[in-house]
Amino acid sequence: MDLAVKDLKRHLGRFLTTVVGVGLLFGTVLAMNGIYRGVVFEGISLIESLNPDLWVVERFRGGPFSEQSTLAEDFHYSVAAVPGVAQASPYIAYPVEREIGGKSKRFTIIGYDVFGGMGGPTKLTVGRGIGQGHYEAVVHKKLGVSLGEKIPLGLHRYTVVGLTDDITSPDGEPVVFLSLPDAQEVLFLRDNETVRNQRERLRRTLARNSSNSLEAAKLLTALQSDTHTINAVLVKLAPGADRLEVARHIEDWLYFSVYTSQEEIDLMLRGRLAKARMQLLIFRTILLIVSMVILTLVIYTFTMEKIRSIAIMKLMGAANWVIIRLVLEQSLLLTLSSFIIGWLVIHNTQYYFPRKIFLTPLDESVTFGLALLGGLFASGLGIWQALKTQPALALGGH
């Protein structure tokens, strides 16, 4: 006779309510695992996806993601000329907030050399890559635009020629790939009034310091701010080239800082993502402990409610294994059912979260293992109580 199942059937409503409650708690723990992994995944997805051999950035800066880095665009020719470098591509990335489809949206614009350079989308879900120097874009699906749609950025409208779901910005925002000149134009495009204002300020400064106004007017055109800047140069090494040697050469002769992709990832994890990761990790640990404590209490309460029935069975001569099976089976049923509910909930709702919930089998296995341990620990407590229960309890004492 399966006493555990019979008991649960008699209290089916309470059992199901408990399973749903504990299941939602497990769902929250799994969601927190996914949020933690998602923050890390999105934080380094750009770096991992591009994965050049070297990142060349402004000297003493941890750019281009951990810290701002600005280089003149034409420096990528100097980098390309370094022995051991097979290819050097200019790269720019910056966050913007623009109105698209009537809604204000945040996203990151990435500009790259569309004619064979590195830094572009690595995997397209639909459409093609950018094929011309201007007015084409490859867009992340999260932005909510469709293939062929035209999106307004600055003075121009850009046709969406491809969609990707591979890369997000380190903040989890969707990305928009443009050609390098288009990205620079969108970045540096100023409002007409701002341009006139800056020009007037510069003219006055020149007039104060020049011998005549004609000379100042001449200089004015030459001293407009340079919009041909980039954030980094992506380097692909020639076969057999020594990575360290090339990096040292670039640092010593061109006065830039150079990082490998792994060093870029480390910079992100130790810098920009460090506090968010620690915050989530602590919260995740607390949540797991709370879940295990609640599970333990629920199982222990389930057992203690039956303590008189257990005493009666012991008085009738029931063997210990009958009692152990009753407690253990209920504990395992409760733990397993709750975990399945939690698993189903998070696997069916993960896509409604604004940022990526990155669920891994390892995290799920570890969480299940810990839940099972909690269940077994609670069963152990319950069994211990059950086995030390005196059969005389059934008689109301002696």
Binding site: R10, V322, H398
Partner: protein
């Protein structure tokens, strides 16, 4: 043949100034089919005697012989007492003490399940006992849905499930009115006579022991007299 023989049984709780002598030098014997009543005031040791006889409580001294086997002697027991209880002793309590999450039928099936009797044999036995106790039509009800008398009759059916050699009944009529109490006692007498089962029943109520073979009075842990009520 004697179903149970107790000689010089003592039970002492605590020690020193806190020592309580619950049973002192108790001796009695019961033959198969005998009905024995244990009477006495509260705290006289009636329930303790039942617990010591079934070895739920370990006596301090004395000898318990069950069905010709010495199951306890002065601090020693070589018996699997749980097995003894599930195979040879039936318990009836003051309240029915049915397992609340099992139906009346399942409560009668449980003791059989504990000794490995399952399937049709167990089902037939449960049906037979519930009919015998006149509660067959309530077989699929959970205990809270049965009246006090019905619960107690199911409890007797459960106690009889494995055809025990001895039934220990601890105030089985205490929670019932006089008419229902007498009905339960009549059933116990019927069971004892028809199945040759020895019955020890603890009761406060002298009206309930009509037809019992012997009545023992316990006072301060001592068994001080016995009468025939047959």
């Amino acid at each position: 043949m004697e179903a149970l023989k107790i000689t010089g049984l003592s039970k002492i709780f605590g020690s020193g100034r806190l020592e309580v002598r619950a049973l002192e030098d108790v001796s009695l014997s019961i033959a198969a089919g005998d009905l024995v009543a244990l009477m006495g005031p509260s705290g006289s040791g009636k329930t303790t005697l039942l617990l010591c006889v079934s070895l739920i409580l370990e006596p301090t001294a004395g000898t318990v012989v069950f069905d010709g086997d010495t199951i306890y002697q002065d601090g020693w027991t070589g018996f699997d007492v749980r097995r003894l209880r599930r195979e040879k002793i039936g318990f009836i309590f003051q309240t029915s003490n049915l397992i609340p999450f099992l139906t009346a039928r399942e409560n009668v099936l449980l003791p059989q399940d504990l000794v490995g009797v399952k399937g049709e044999v167990a089902e037939n036995r449960a049906e037979e006992l519930l009919e015998y106790m006149e509660v067959a039509e309530r077989a699929d009800y959970l205990p809270p849905l049965l009246s006090g008398g019905e619960q107690q009759r199911v409890a007797i059916a459960r106690a009889l499930a494995n055809r025990p050699r001895l039934i220990l009944a601890d105030e089985p009529t205490a929670s019932l009115d006089t008419a229902r109490g007498k009905r339960v006692m009549d059933l116990l007498k019927k069971v004892a006579r028809e199945n040759q089962t020895a019955v020890i029943a603890v009761t406060h109520d002298a009206r309930m022991i009509e037809g019992f073979d012997r009545v023992y009075h316990l006072k301060d842990g001592r068994l001080n007299n016995s009468n025939n009520h047959g």
